[in-house]
Symmetry: C2
Subunit: 316 residues, 2 copies
Amino acid sequence: MNDQNAIGIDLGGTNFRLGVVSHTGEISQRFVSEVGKKKTPDDIVKLLTKHVTEIKNKTPNLKGIGVGIPGIVDAETGVVHSSPHYPEWSNVKFKELFEGAFGMPVSLDNDANMVALGEGWLGAGKDMKNFVLLTLGTGIGGGIYCDGKIWHGDHGFAGEVGHILIDFNGPHCNCGSRGCLEMYASATGLKKLIEDSGDKNKERFLELVGDNLEKVTPAFLYDRAKEGDIFASVIWKKFGSYLGAGLASIVNTLGITNIIIGGGVSRAWDFFIRDTEKEFKRRIYKRTSSLVKIHKTALGDDAGIIGAARVVLKTN
Amino acid sequence: MNDQNAIGIDLGGTNFRLGVVSHTGEISQRFVSEVGKKKTPDDIVKLLTKHVTEIKNKTPNLKGIGVGIPGIVDAETGVVHSSPHYPEWSNVKFKELFEGAFGMPVSLDNDANMVALGEGWLGAGKDMKNFVLLTLGTGIGGGIYCDGKIWHGDHGFAGEVGHILIDFNGPHCNCGSRGCLEMYASATGLKKLIEDSGDKNKERFLELVGDNLEKVTPAFLYDRAKEGDIFASVIWKKFGSYLGAGLASIVNTLGITNIIIGGGVSRAWDFFIRDTEKEFKRRIYKRTSSLVKIHKTALGDDAGIIGAARVVLKTN
C-alpha cells in the first residue's frame, strides 16, 4: 500500500493545476493550463478527463483522484452547491460526474480546504494540531484544520471566513451581505480600498494607470509599494489592518491560535503583515493575542494539488 | 455506577446557583444565593465550600463537582485566566483550590460552555449533533457544542462570540477592541443603542427614567415594549438586527446550522427575533440561510448547573 500515487487537481476560476502526487508528497507530471471559455459542468469534466486519462495510462499504483473546487462544496456528498467563479453551477453532483468519467474513486472538497490539507501534511502546518488557513485571492478562501482533518460543519460550508463581518454598513458583497472581510482584504477589497481612499496621493497614483482602476492588480500595487510609492503602501497598510480585525473575530470564535495565510495577494506580505498584527493585537484579549501566531503558507501554488491528493492517499 | 450524583455550580458575577444533579438530570437541593462583596479567589472557595460540605454530608453516591465560571477558563488545566466580573483574578488555579477545599474531583469550564452542555444533554440541543449557544446577559457568552463535547480550541477560549466584529469603528469594548457584537446585542449593548439612537421618541422615553439611562435594564425595556412603547420596540428591533449580523459571521465561520440562544436578555425574544432572522438571511448565502435554525434555550436558569454536573457524570 505504501507506494501508491494519487492525482491532485486544483480547479480555479481561470486556471487549473494537476499533478501526480506520491505517498510521500512528491509531485510528478505537473500540468498548469487555462480552463478556457467553456465552463459548464460537462465542459469541466471533459477537460479534466483528457488529462486524467493520459496520466492513468502511464502511472502505476494510482489510488484515486482528489479535486479542489472553489465554492460551497459538500465533501461528504460530493455536490458543489455554488461557485463564485462558475455562477451557472447549482447543486452539481461533481463526484458522480467525475467518477463516471475518470473510472476511479474521486474525493471532492472546497479548494481552500485542499490547500489546508496540503499545508497540514507537508507545509507550514505540518507540526500543528489545529490551524485556520486563509487564501487571499480575488476573494478569500478559508479552511479549518483540526487534528489532521478539515472541520466541515453540518453541511460542508464551514470556513467561509471571507464573509466575517468587518463593517455593518460596509460595501455590498456577492454573498448578499455588506462589509464582509472579502470586501477589504482581497484583490476585490484592494480596489474598494483605493476607490474609497481620501488620501492626497491617490490622484497621482491613478494617473499611473490612466485613471483606470481595473488595471490595478495586486501585483501592480505590490510592485509600486516595492518602488516606494506612498499611496500603494498606505493601501497595503489599510488592507493589513482590516485583515487583522477579521482574524480577531476568527480567533475569538474558533479559539485556534495558529493562522496560516496564503493566496496570490499574500505575496505583498511585508507590506501588510505588521499592520495585520498590530490591529489583531488591539482587537483581542492580551492573553489570547500572546498565544496567536500568524504564518505564511509554505507550499506555494502546489498546496492545492498536494492536499487534494492527500485526501485520497490517507483513506484506507 | 448508574445512580451517581454530581454537584453542579453556576457562578455568576452577582449570584451563584448550586444543585445536586442525578444521573438522569434531575436537580435536588437547589441553592441560589448572592456572591456578596468578598470576591477574591479565597473568598469564593470559602463561600462554595460551606455549601458543598453540607451537601456532601447528606448525599450518597456523589461523584464530583462541576463549576461554571464566567471568563477565560482553561478547562484542561483548570486555570481561570481572567473574568469580566472579577477583574482582580489573574491565572487562578481554581481546580486545584476547589479540589483541596472540597475533597472531591472538580471539573471547571466557562459558564456558557456549561450551559451548552446542559442544553445539549437535556435541553434545546438534545437531538442536535452540533450547535452554537449564545447567552445574552450583561455581556455575551458562547459555547460551541460538537458531538457531545465542547470545542475549546487550543487554549480553552473558543466560543468568545461576543467579540465577533460588527463595526470596525464601533463603540469601545472591554476586550480592547471596538464594535464587538457584545456592544450591541447584550444588556450593555442595549444601553449603547439607546444612547446612540436619534429616534424622535427617545426623549419621551428617557423621561420615564428621569433621564437616568442606568435605570434602563433589559427587563424595563422589555416591559415597556410589551406595553406598546414605540421607542422600546425600535431598540429591540435594532438589537435583533445586530444579533442577526453577528450570527451570520458565526455561521459562516463554523458552518454549524443550529443556534441556541439564552440568557436573561433573551426573554424579550418576541421583540427581536424577527429582525434577527431577517438580518441574518440578508447576510448569508441563500442556501446556507435555508439550513439554519435559531432556537431558544429550554432549561432556563438550571442549564448551567445541569451542564456542570454533566461534565462530572459522563466521565468514567
